[in-house]
């Protein structure tokens, strides 16, 4: 007696199972790479404190298990990881999972809002530019895209802070909430949204430029294809032609890029989160490297690789939905 398993499910399960050795490989590789960097978390701590006596340093090393060989440390770490135990962060003096969980929400919020903004506006502007190719509108949009693309996000972030916080006083300089205001319900949501305006803008503009350029080219290409001519011949015009026939097909490369860039946005969030002092995992990654907080760093890498694997699977699924010709095997 066998139930028919939907191909979508088998596909997804297979992809997830395939991901496990990849993640293990990533974890082992990262662990060894981090260990290659000179110094450990005790050195970073001692540097922070302005010095300590040898007994203090030796005691900390023993407590953190850093007096063992790298291979022993790796083995211990992987054993713990197999039980989904990310260990203890000696910098934050909390379990790594607590540190990560308190931050992942903020980063996901920032990433998703940035990508939504970048994708929506990028696709829309790209389509408009393609529709009116080589016109004054197209030139305007393309030039703007170039400016966004060329502007480094740290510079854009500081520029935004200077204009909207220091000069105009409209938006808060950083953080995720007004500290000490203790807002609840919708007031809290509005407060968080206000804090996210500038980080989202700073993070999304580069990607917006990407999607716009790609969408413009893609739409121009699709418009020349035979099936568009056919659609036109059977009477589809204006909006229907654009949305139903052209854009749906033109979106394929943009979706590819979106899936790929999910991971680079994670990287870009390091800078944006640091400047806007957003408590996310990007900022956490940066401080963890500086402080050699190995367990936290490994936790971030594990979470990030899981996110990237999941997003890749989802991207493939979206392909199949956008273009029924693509089969999931």
């Amino acid at each position: 007696m066998s139930l028919p398993v939907p191909p979508l499910l088998t596909y997804t399960v297979r992809r997830v199972v395939q991901a496990i050795p990849i993640i293990i490989l990533i974890m082992v590789g990262s662990f060894l790479l981090i260990k290659l960097a000179p110094g450990d978390t005790v050195d970073a701590l001692v540097g922070d404190m302005g010095g300590a006596d040898p007994a203090f340093v030796a005691r900390l090393r023993a407590e953190y298990g850093l007096d063992q060989s790298v291979m022993v440390q790796l083995w211990r770490y992987m054993l713990k990881l197999a039980q989904f135990d990310f260990g203890w962060s000696y910098v934050y003096e909390q379990p790594v999972i607590t540190v990560l969980m308190s931050r992942i929400g903020n980063t996901m919020l920032l990433m998703v809002s940035s990508l939504v903004v970048a994708f929506t506006f990028g696709v829309a502007l790209g389509a408009i530019a393609a529709r009116r190719a080589y016109s004054w509108t197209d030139n305007m949009i393309s030039t703007l895209g170039l400016v966004f693309y060329a502007m480094p996000s740290f510079f854009l972030s500081l520029l935004l802070i200077l204009i909207f916080s220091v000069k105009l006083g409209w938006l808060p300089v950083g953080g995720i909430r007004t500290i000490g205001a203790f807002k609840t319900g919708w007031a809290d949501v509005a407060d968080v949204a206000r804090h996210l305006v500038m980080p989202t803008a700073a993070l999304s503009l580069i990607y917006l430029a990407f999607y716009m350029r790609l969408m413009r080219t893609s739409v121009l290409e699709v418009m020349d294809l035979d099936f568009v001519r056919t659609a036109r011949a059977k009477g589809a015009g204006g909006a229907r032609l654009m949305f139903h026939h052209v854009m749906r097909n033109a979106l394929l490369p943009v979706v590819t890029l979106l899936g790929l860039q999910f991971s680079t946005v994670l990287g870009g969030s390091v800078i944006v989160e640091t400047i806007f002092s957003l408590p996310g995992i990007g900022q956490l990654a940066y401080t963890s490297v500086v402080k050699r907080d190995l367990n936290t760093l490994m936790g971030i890498i594990a979470i990030s690789s899981i996110i990237v694997v999941v997003v890749n699977v989802v991207t493939d699924l979206v392909y199949a939905w956008l273009d029924p010709r693509i089969e999931l095997k």
């Binding site: 050195d43 404190m49 040898p54 953080g175 007004t178 002092s277």
Partner: protein
């Protein structure tokens, strides 16, 4: 932030007199002071981590036995202190009527427990200071007698107490794993503010302790520390009025100079005198070239200290005169050999040492590691490389982050010269002499990485550490300074205080030499 400020105005009279006659203004109660912090602190217990970053926060919750003011050392949790004639018993009278934040009374038991279990065993720098501590007796609940196996100079212990003398509540620590005790992250002290919440990566909130032993204090309702790692963003937050103060060079020098012209801010070194540091050039004497004293003298002569002071430190600082800074009181002397900027003399010394320039004008090459302690050390390292080029020494800069630097210099000794800073901690015996004395295990940060070994120096350091007579002790430290300036294992090139920037809305700010680390019981907000 508006709306939550208590607007209870105190009318003239008694409390203003208490606040200090210099304050002609009426003290306003209530309000929240928001303070910038560059980096997070995992441990908020000053009896476990001796670090200004920890004191900046924990100083509001936990108080030391003694604090330092511009009028000298004053009692906080202690009221009097004295030493036996042989220096082996030091007695503290403790303040009565002080309560921990959880309502339990503060007594000698707390001091004895903290001294024996934390200060002696776990606290950095203090383990060395208290190495000869044998017991703390409590003849009465408010008398603590520290028993030492070797004479302990009272002057040294008192000078160390503001940083290394914070008791913890025994009833919360006894019988626990002290390092893993949850109160290390949510401190319970006797201070004017109580710990409320630590949101990692965002902020720490403290609220007014209504039962504070100084009656009528503190003035503020709350203190909030915000973690802003980016210095440019921190400067913007100051300008936007979101934070009131940033200490310990928390913003870039460029912003510091710019905002010092802004009438809304007070900028300067006042309130940081206790934390004076030296910008240094450190030699590796294992290198035969640098083992020649003439080469080290030549390098000192090649450094235009005034130029560096003006351009890098923007005038905040003065030329160094050896390991002890001018703020150290009687233990400081400026009667030491000096090495003024003189390129010709520098070149002559190098010629004399036998290092003549080759066809390209190069005498030899040095591998230099600048410490990553921020703007000063980075720019000072770059200046050093340029300055040495003028006398024909090629300097290769090797830049690392903190763990890389500490390992490269202190453990692997993989450097010819290095530069960083060295912080003076109230008394030379706390953190300074360990740098010059031989015998520390390899790899200990801020111990003798030079490979410098002088029996005379070791003898002076040991004699001073055990000398009970302040005048003789001072004389020994003067000799240490002179000898260091003669032997030059390290150039203490520039003495500079840290800088702070404070909104003028804060009143009574930076009124003690270790203000950022102090309790802020008399701080108030004018708005």
């Amino acid at each position: 932030m508006q709306g939550m400020m208590g607007r209870l105005l105190l009318l003239g009279g008694a409390l203003c007199v208490v606040a200090g006659a210099a304050q002609a203004e009426e003290v306003k109660r209530g309000g929240t002071a928001v303070i910038h912090m560059v980096s997070e602190q995992g441990v908020l217990n000053p009896a476990l981590r001796a670090s200004t970053g920890v004191y900046q926060i924990s100083g509001k919750f936990m108080e030391p036995l003694i604090d330092k003011t511009y009028d000298g050392y004053v009692g906080v949790l202690a009221t009097e202190w004295s030493s036996s004639a042989d220096g082996k018993a030091i007695t503290f009278k403790l303040r009565e009527g002080v309560k921990w934040h959880d309502g339990k009374p503060f007594t000698c038991d707390d001091v004895a427990f903290s001294a024996m279990n934390l200060w002696k065993k776990l606290l950095n720098y203090s383990t060395t200071l208290q190495a000869n501590l044998e017991a703390v007796d409590c003849p009465t609940p408010h008398t603590a007698v520290f028993k030492y196996s070797k004479p302990m100079p009272l002057e040294l212990l008192v000078a160390a107490m503001p940083d290394l003398g914070h008791p913890v509540p025994k009833h919360l620590y006894e019988g626990t794993d002290i390092l893993k005790n949850p109160y290390n992250q949510k401190p319970v002290g006797t201070g004017p503010f109580k710990f409320v919440e630590y949101k990692r990566g965002e902020y720490i909130i403290a609220e007014r302790n209504k039962d504070y032993w100084r009656k009528g204090y503190p003035y503020l309702d709350r203190v909030i520390w915000r973690f802003i790692p980016d210095k440019a963003a921190a400067a913007a937050a100051l300008e936007a009025g979101e934070i009131h103060e940033s200490g310990f060079n928390g913003i870039s020098m460029e912003d510091m100079v710019r905002l010092s012209k802004d009438p809304r801010f007070d900028v300067g070194p006042k309130g940081f005198e206790n934390n004076v540091a030296h910008s240094t050039v450190e030699f590796n004497l294992r290198n035969p070239i640098l083992a020649d004293i003439r080469v080290r003298q030549a390098i000192y002569h090649a450094l235009d200290i005034d130029f560096a002071l003006k351009t890098i430190m923007r005038g905040y600082g003065k030329p160094g005169r050896g390991p002890i800074p001018s703020t150290a009181g009687a233990n400081y002397t400026d009667n030491v050999p000096t090495y003024p900027y003189d390129l010709d003399k520098a070149k002559a010394l190098l010629d004399e040492a036998g290092y003549k320039p080759d066809a390209n004008g190069i005498r030899f090459k040095l591998k230099h590691r600048p410490a990553p302690w921020g703007e000063y050390t980075q720019l000072w390292g770059e200046y050093y490389a340029q300055a040495l080029k003028k006398i024909g020494i090629n300097v290769e800069l090797v830049t690392n982050d903190a763990p890389g630097f500490l390992n490269g210099v202190y453990r692997d000794h993989d450097f010819d010269t290095a530069n960083g800073w060295h912080q003076f901690r109230a008394d030379p015996a706390v953190s300074t002499t360990v740098w010059l004395r031989s015998g520390a295990p390899v790899g200990t940060a801020w111990s003798n990485q030079f490979g410098y070994k002088s029996d005379k120096m070791d003898g002076l350091i040991d004699a001073a550490a055990a000398e009970l007579d302040p005048a003789k002790r001072a004389d020994l430290y003067h000799q240490v300074q002179k000898l260091e300036m003669t032997d030059l294992p390290v150039i203490f090139a520039i003495e500079h205080p840290f800088l702070g920037i404070t909104s003028k809305k804060l009143k009574n700010h930076h009124n003690t030499p270790r203000w950022d680390s102090s309790s802020w019981y008399d701080l108030w907000l004018d708005q």
